[in-house]
């Protein structure tokens, strides 16, 4: 039975304040304080209940004074702080104590001088004591302040009696005298802290403080984290951009930008989210029978325990290995491994390089997976990098990109032309019965289709594009499409929302000044197409584009699954969930739930990209052991080991490192890739590549070789495609069967493979590349499944 009176009640209300603003502010502060105190209590409970029993050296149950003493001695040789920083900390502490002392403390010059000499003598005695205790006077130089190594000054003598080369003591200084005075005062009033500090600190100490604040100390070791995280980075440039982009009512938008605060990673909130990710994956791994000991739970584990190395962190965050100089800097640091790694994470995740790398990934998402090097694309990437640097919430970035489509001076505006004209062939044939927009020629259709596709990609509804051909307005979508075509990818949208309704929404962007879109019916009647919100309601003509976008984002505000998946894939190499289910059958629901949860966190916590990447980095999947697996190794695996491997791969237990991001991926490369996936020889039911000559297995096809491919470099993604084919889930197999049963010709099948995996049509060169292989000679459904996985696994 509880002794508490308010077992189920909240804590008492704060006194009511007159001013609403004050009340709101107080509530916010209280909530923050409560969360902070909760974390403090967590730590105390952790120690008291034994969580940290085997943890740090300071843990009460693991505390060994001798061991700590030795650690302190070692640390004195290579501290993370400079002597000056140590001295500053001590001086500030002394000043704090002085401020808390009573005003009648002793302050005569004579006393100050006496205390000074005591201080100096104590220092000397400590140095000697330590030197003796560790068996050598040579360590004195490590213990005594650098001041003591200055030449002897007038009236002074060497403490150890050594000539001028030995440790020396300097002339006492005023500051030290004040420090000594402070110590006396502190001793007298140690437990009598005044609530409000006085302001009689040492002048010298104040000067030194400002030196630190100005960055005068050890500037080289001040990591970029300080620049990025400790200082508000809402740059003027960004503000100007936002101001320029804002419509007249843009104050709203500006107010939605991140508040001027400091981004703190590793907060309680972050740990909670990481815990959920871990929990989901533990569930998945358990279902696969993986040992519990292989897991680290709760988002609380240290980086070291997580098995994260500097090299792996660099690869995950920056897509490169750590450089020699970075590793050397780590080696020279004498901090604990965890602290070193945390500093590395802090440094890398806030670096310009991180912004650059991830802005490219983000741009890739908005550009439909294509790499583009035009000047406009570069400007767009730079703009995205600024958003990352300023920790603009991802939801806000999405909104700005969509709104930017209507603003000619916005960096995202180039996407309008890019999506209108990004492939060799984009639109359906002009005479296709599906294209029945009144008054639209091929160019206009192409533009509007592209923009609609862009909108569906950004709002995580790529499968909706299928309704362009399957289930036009008035007709229901085919049953096999119904579960994926709903707006919001699971929001339970209306069937009346189809590709045409999206096109009607984007018509004003495709053709400024036009606000309506008409379709010619089969009976030759013309009917206006209604733009719709995700819930199926019509978009009123009085609403501006911005209001329409806001309505869409509001209704689907937790649906960032497309962006989330793209970033997850960029981080782990495999997405959490694909729109059409080409991600295998293992724990699909658990992964879907996780996508939904993370999307919600992104919105509710106004998380920026760096925060999301941090969650991924700290989660258990990031620490799972990697296996560098060559294609040859893969081919000779016995059946059981192969099965184990595929299951681990399926849930990110391991990552295939057979990846060269620097490979030039042109048509010849794609031909080699496609040919390797569909060899000319007859295939066996399993691992058909075993039948291939070794030179083909190792280096791609002879044709690829003849076309200039590097034989030593296996085409990127081929192994992923093969694995994906082997572990394809039921849904993916059903798609393959459906396509197999259709009367689509080879070219249309390739188109569908791209539509279902890349959410776009295949380009002419892609059709050429795949058509040049022997894929049609294989058993049809198996070949289509392999084609789907092959297309999904490669990016050009």
């Amino acid at each position: 039975m509880s002794n508490f009176e308010f077992e189920n009640s909240k804590r008492p209300e704060e006194p009511v304040l007159d001013a609403t603003v004050d009340k709101t502010l107080d509530a916010t502060l209280d909530a923050t304080l409560d969360a902070t105190l909760d974390a403090m209590l967590d730590g105390m409970l952790g120690e008291w209940l034994g969580e940290e029993a085997g943890g740090g050296q300071g843990s009460s149950k693991a505390f060994d004074p001798s061991e700590i003493y030795r650690s302190v001695l070692k640390r004195s040789e290579a501290s993370v702080f400079s002597d000056q920083e140590h001295a500053q900390a001590a001086s500030r502490a002394q000043r704090d104590c002085l401020q808390e002392s009573s005003p009648d403390r002793l302050s005569t010059d004579r006393l100050s001088t006496d205390r000074l000499w005591r201080s100096v003598a104590i220092g000397a005695s400590i140095a000697v004591s330590i030197a003796v205790s560790i068996g050598g006077l040579s360590l004195i130089g490590r213990w005594v302040p650098r001041d003591l190594n200055k030449p002897v000054e007038v009236g002074q003598t060497s403490l150890d009696g050594a000539p001028s080369s030995g440790p020396r003591v300097s002339e006492p200084r005023v500051a030290e005298a004040r420090v000594a005075e402070a110590q006396v005062a502190e001793a007298r009033v140690a437990e009598a802290r005044a609530p409000e500090p006085t302001s009689n600190g040492s002048q010298e100490g104040v000067v030194a403080d400002s030196q630190i604040a100005d960055g005068a100390l050890d500037p080289e070791r001040r990591g970029p984290m300080q620049d990025k995280l400790a200082v508000q980075r809402q740059s003027e440039k960004n503000q100007e951009q936002v101001a320029a982009q804002d419509p007249p009512q843009g104050a709203e938008m500006a107010s939605a930008l991140p508040s001027a605060g400091v981004l703190s990673l590793g907060t309680l909130e972050d740990r909670e989210i990481v815990s959920v990710i871990d929990s989901q994956f533990q569930q998945i791994w358990k279902s696969l029978g993986m040992p519990q000991s292989d897991m680290v739970s709760g988002g609380q584990a240290s980086l070291k325990k997580r098995g994260l190395t500097a090299d792996r962190i660099a690869r995950l965050l920056l897509h490169r290995v750590a450089t020699d100089s970075e590793l050397e800097a780590i080696r020279l640091d004498k901090l604990s491994e965890d602290t070193q790694l945390e500093r590395l994470v802090a440094s890398w995740i806030s670096s310009d390089e991180f912004d650059r790398v991830w802005s490219t990934r983000l741009a890739n998402f908005y550009m439909g997976g294509r790499i583009e090097s035009s000047q406009q694309a570069v400007v767009f990437r730079e703009w995205l990098a600024a958003q990352i640097r300023d920790d603009v919430p991802l939801g806000q970035v999405q909104r700005q990109v969509l709104l930017g489509l209507s603003q000619a001076d916005h960096p995202a505006y180039f996407l309008v032309d890019y999506w209108s004209d990004r492939g060799d062939r984009w639109s359906l044939p002009p005479n296709s019965p599906q294209v029945a927009w009144v008054g639209y020629g091929d160019t206009e259709v192409k533009r509007l289709e592209g923009l609609s596709q862009l909108f569906l990609t950004v709002t995580s509804n790529p499968a909706m594009v299928c309704t362009q051909c399957h289930g036009a307005e008035g007709a229901s979508a085919p049953s096999w499409l119904a579960d994926r075509a709903a707006p919001g990818g699971g929001l339970g949208g209306s069937k009346s929302v189809d590709f045409d309704s999206i096109s009607a929404l984007m018509v004003g962007i495709a053709q400024p000044g036009v606000s309506e879109l008409f379709r010619r019916q089969q009976d030759d009647q013309v009917r206006k197409i209604a733009a719709r919100f995700p819930d199926g309601k019509r978009v009123g003509s009085e609403l501006s584009f911005e209001q329409t976008i806001d309505g869409w984002l509001e209704q689907g505000s937790h649906s960032h699954s497309g962006l989330l998946n793209a970033l997850w894939r960029d981080f782990f190499g495999v997405g959490l969930e694909s729109a059409f289910g080409f991600d295998g059958a293992v724990a699909l629901e658990a992964r879907r739930d996780l996508v939904g949860y993370l999307g919600k966190q992104i919105v509710e916590r106004r998380a920026g990209l760096r925060q999301l990447v941090y969650w991924m980095l700290m989660s258990d999947p990031a620490r799972q052991s990697e296996e560098s697996l060559s294609y040859a190794q893969y081919m000779v695996m016995d059946a059981q080991r192969l099965e184990d491997y595929l299951q681990r791969q399926e849930v990110f237990k391991s990552l295939v490192l057979d990846d060269s991001r620097s490979a030039v991926r042109d048509e010849a490369w794609l031909v080699g890739y496609a040919s390797a996936l569909f060899p000319e020889q007859a295939e066996g039911p399993e691992r058909s590549f075993l039948a291939q000559p070794s030179n083909q297995v190792q280096g791609g096809s002879k044709r690829a070789s003849a076309e200039g491919l590097d034989l030593g470099q296996w085409p990127r993604g081929l192994l992923h495609a093969e694995i994906g084919y082997r572990v394809a889930g039921d849904r993916a197999r059903r798609w393959a069967d459906l396509l197999s049963a259709s009367e689509l010709n080879d070219s249309a099948l390739i188109d569908h493979a791209y539509l279902m995996t890349k959410h776009r049509f295949a380009t002419a060169r892609e059709i050429r590349a795949w058509s040049s292989t022997s894929w049609t000679k294989s058993q049809r459904s198996s070949a289509i499944l392999r084609l789907l996985m092959g297309v999904a696994s490669v990016e050009l």
Binding site: D42, R118, S119, I126, S129, M225
Partner: protein
């Protein structure tokens, strides 16, 4: 001059400076303090050691354990701030000043911080059996919220609420026993 200093008779005793003894008496208190103001365990390890490096490089008078403890905590606090300045804010709270006030108030003259943990133990016993079990599963057994929910036959949100209420009660109890802090 050296002789003059060491022969003074106003209470100075070089022999009282035993670094190992200083560490033995105060390390745990400093470490707990650092943890209380938001440092992760490994950083608390590092900064506690750095604290002793700092004070041994710039010695002070050992007048009584309470004064020493108070001084060491302030050194540790400023080293933590310096660490934040140098290396960023990952894993560190912006509320250290408030937490410092809480810990200082709660630890009182106890240099090791045992007083706080003892009080916590007493307060823990006043929680409901379910709340105790929930917290024990979390901190002792490191069970996931899902496991706790299954064991207690409540939802995961229920577990969250139960633990939040329990912690609010613990905090109130600690404030009753050790003193409240003006926010």
């Amino acid at each position: 001059m050296h002789e003059d200093l060491t022969n003074r008779s106003d209470g100075f005793e070089p022999g009282s400076w035993d670094p190992e003894k200083l560490i033995a008496e105060h390390y745990l208190g400093v470490w707990r303090y650092l943890k209380a103001i938001g440092c992760p365990i490994h950083l608390a390890d590092d900064l506690a050691q750095e604290t002793f490096v700092a004070v041994l490089r710039k010695p002070f008078e050992l007048l009584n354990p309470q004064a020493t403890s108070s001084y060491l905590r302030r050194v540790a606090f400023h080293l933590m701030l310096e660490y934040k300045r140098k290396f960023g804010t990952i894993g560190l709270t912006d509320q250290a000043e408030i937490l410092d006030r809480y810990w200082t108030r709660w630890a009182g003259s106890d240099v090791s911080g045992d007083r706080v943990l003892d009080a916590l133990g007493e307060c823990f016993q006043r929680l409901t059996a379910r709340a105790q079990k929930s917290l024990k599963m979390r901190f002792e057994e490191r069970a996931s919220r899902e496991q706790i929910a299954a064991d207690l036959q409540i939802s995961q949100n229920g577990v969250k609420n139960l633990q939040q209420r329990a912690k609010a009660q613990l905090r109130q109890c600690l404030e009753e026993k050790l003193g409240a802090v003006d926010r």
